[in-house]
Symmetry: C2
Subunit: 462 residues, 2 copies
């Protein structure tokens, strides 16, 4: 049955992006006398904090993604559109889509998020060191990881096998630490008994951080514990080393930004690895550049205290794309889900106030802290009141993530998957979608000539 | 820890394919004094009977697929290789892989299965009417279905929207019937409340069969009930109509092979549809052509009563690729999972007998019947002893499929998904992986000129 149609006489609010911030804004507007259009370039909301579990085969894609139009199906005043916004004209109050169509708005909430950034090396590095922002990224990373093991099983050459079984993660923020922990668990546990021609525990997992320590946004004590845990379970952690080049064979490292907890771990070096993953940085979405203000180094749009675009009080920017001052010492609100939710809801609240003839209010960030997992059954919890590392922190991590997933249908499935994985050590998502795996066409590591591989030359096509 | 290595002094058994037949063969050989190599071009076993549920967004890919090397991890004598076999030389007892390497065998079990066949039109039809054999196929189909709805929400032109919301399934065997039933359920229930600019229940689902009735391998009484149920729930069933052309805009139909249950449904006609799915036929895998015997029309390899290649008693062919006589009236063993399992196990049994100096025994097919679902909560069960249609048959279908899944880890998740879907009408897998959806570039239906669509022309790139 067709629902009541949105009323075209009411003020039109456009929301760009169906992530945490955009959804929070839409929910705040559900019962208002406005017409809402939410535009996203993908049909699904993505539960980004668990995406690394899809990349490492622990969860299936539908466990961490839900169709936006289903989530908003009871919002009679809301239309969801699959489309890519290429520009905004805040003076004319118009949003331009990729297909050339334009949508006029009375109020706009830009919640377009962030994308991977290779710091000026996007062209060369993005294909050899994929980042993790979308489900497609996660599938690509999964294919590389699983493909490397598959290829190793058939590789007679010892040096080339070592190369195939070296996994490098660049960037030791929460995503990098979580990826490295999961990669390590795959080699130590998931792959046990799975291969006949090599020992999967011989795989190397290397976590590289340019700064002086891992998890720089967490309390140093917790980060130190996390580092020790990673090292104990087998991850090689290298801090103070900056990546200067990445190619299909590996990475070049040079001295990084200095260090804070002892010696520099390594001299500048070359690291041969078939699989390199990028977790070192993101940048505000491209649409931020069309708003007529200068974005910061991270592509973020500076906003007013009310979260509006300076000079355009009906155009809001929220979530990872917004640069919002926080506190007095120059900090900004971090790019994490709770902050995005708070900003999205606040911008929608301000829209409501404006429609009712009231003045918008300034945004106040409520810091609920942050958490991250470190491999199996260990996590960090870092809140203003509580600093915790270990199993109890991991239980809190599980609990909070299940709670956040609660607005989707996925919590029971995810809980089951986790419980099952905990006791079985398995990862159900070990599916390589395309064949052949990506490494097939890669060159040998630099010190090997093709004749060394022990493989016969390709015959002419049969 | 590295497991005991396969013993190279023992007879080498190669199994090509990790489907139902190949896995059954590997399991029979687990405790034998042989060295087994299983080769598959994908890393996962696929539970093919439920693949249509991935294509229609009811299940996630990992629910119906499991890594072969995990399933066989406890088989110390078995090595699993990800690779594509391009040829077999049964005289030299050698298997040739895509990368040029060759593997010698003492015994070979070819269980390479079947692939989609468009009956001589592969080149033109495969891209506009995808079939359903792999997870990639399922994702492609899912993207087309969901993409059509997404595009319809933005389509101002009534005729083009009708075209976008017409779904044609060609072939009314179990897969075609199951796809049509699921497509219908999506339009009637899953999409409810999801759109603002059209009524999703206005979508047309058309099931086309060239033969005189749907489900030709089932008892006619059951098939008639299934047809009535499909019609009652809204599927347009057209029998006796043959597809003569398929393009991006739709299909051309002509009088089919005649009919058996009343009038011919339709005159030859043109059917405009944005989404056309192919469920009309498969063909034995390509490797069957390299075995030195003439394959039948369906690409199947005729085998001896012992399931061996004629003249080559150490080379077996089983599963969908084998043409096995059954009964006295020219029938052959059907291409269904239970038959594949029986054949794979029997071939492995014969290998064991040969190794022990005994003569191989002839294969005897035990017909356990067949089942298929017809949309929500209805199914057909057709066994030699029992013919059943309806809800009870559907419960049997659920029970049997969960049982078959039991060798994987997926049964609890699938059971939960089904229970949840039954009560919520939702389909959790509604994720479009790539953007934009495929229909974006498609031409308009033939009777519409581009200017009719009501869309503004594309502006120059910004």
């Amino acid at each position: 049955m067709l629902r009541a149609m949105p009323d075209h006489a009411q003020p039109h609010v456009i929301i760009i992006g169906g992530g945490f911030a955009g959804l929070a804004a839409a929910r705040k507007l559900e019962r208002e006398r406005v017409r809402v259009t939410l535009i996203d370039r993908r049909n699904h909301h993505l539960f980004q904090p668990l995406l690394y579990q899809v990349a490492t085969a622990a969860l299936a894609a539908p466990d961490v993604a839900a169709p936006i139009r289903r989530l908003l199906r009871r919002h009679d005043n809301t239309t969801v559109i699959l489309g890519a916004v290429v520009g905004v004209d805040p003076a004319a109050r118009v949003v331009r889509l990729e297909d050339g169509s334009e949508l006029a708005y009375d109020y706009l909430i830009v919640a377009a998020g962030a994308s991977n950034s290779w710091f000026g090396h996007d062209a060369e590095w993005s294909s050899v060191a994929p980042g993790l922002k979308t489900i497609d990224d996660a599938f690509d990373i999964r294919r590389r990881i699983l493909g490397a093991y598959e290829e190793a099983e058939r590789e007679p050459d010892e040096a080339r096998r070592r190369w195939l079984l070296t996994f490098v993660v660049i960037g030791a923020g929460p995503t990098g630490v979580e990826l490295a922990g999961a990669l390590n668990e795959i080699s130590r546990h998931t792959m046990r008994q799975n291969f006949r021609n090599f020992d999967p525990t011989s795989a190397r997992v290397v976590l590289i951080e340019a700064g002086p320590r891992i998890l720089p946004t967490f309390a140093e004590k917790l980060a130190t514990k996390a580092r020790k845990r990673l090292a104990k379970t087998g991850v090689e952690v290298k801090v103070g080393l900056m990546v200067t080049a990445i190619d299909e064979r590996g990475v070049d490292l040079a001295a990084g930004k200095g260090k804070g907890e002892g010696e520099r771990d390594e001299r500048p070096e070359r690291l041969d690895a078939a699989t390199v993953l990028w977790a070192a940085g993101v940048r505000g979405a491209e649409v931020g550049k069309t708003l007529g203000v200068e974005t910061d180094r991270g592509g973020r749009v500076p906003v007013t205290a009310e979260l509006a675009l300076p000079g355009h009080p009906r155009t809001y920017v929220v979530g990872d794309l917004a640069r919002v001052a926080w506190g007095d010492d120059g900090d900004t609100v971090p790019g994490i889900a709770p902050a995005a939710i708070q900003m999205g809801a606040h911008a929608a609240e301000n829209v409501k106030r404006q429609i009712n003839g009231e003045a918008p209010t300034p945004f106040r960030y409520r810091d609920k802290g942050a958490m991250a997992t470190v491999g199996r059954a260990a996590a960090l919890v870092d809140t203003p009141k509580l600093k915790l590392f270990g199993f109890l922190a991991w239980l809190m991590w599980v609990f909070i993530h299940i709670l956040y997933l609660a607005s989707f249908r996925n919590r029971v499935v995810v809980l089951f998957e986790w419980a099952w994985a905990y006791f079985s050590w398995n990862r159900p998502g070990r599916i390589i979608l395309e064949r052949p795996p990506r490494h097939g066409a890669r060159p040998l590591p630099p010190d090997r000539a093709p004749g060394d591989s022990g493989r016969p030359a390709d015959p002419p096509p049969a």
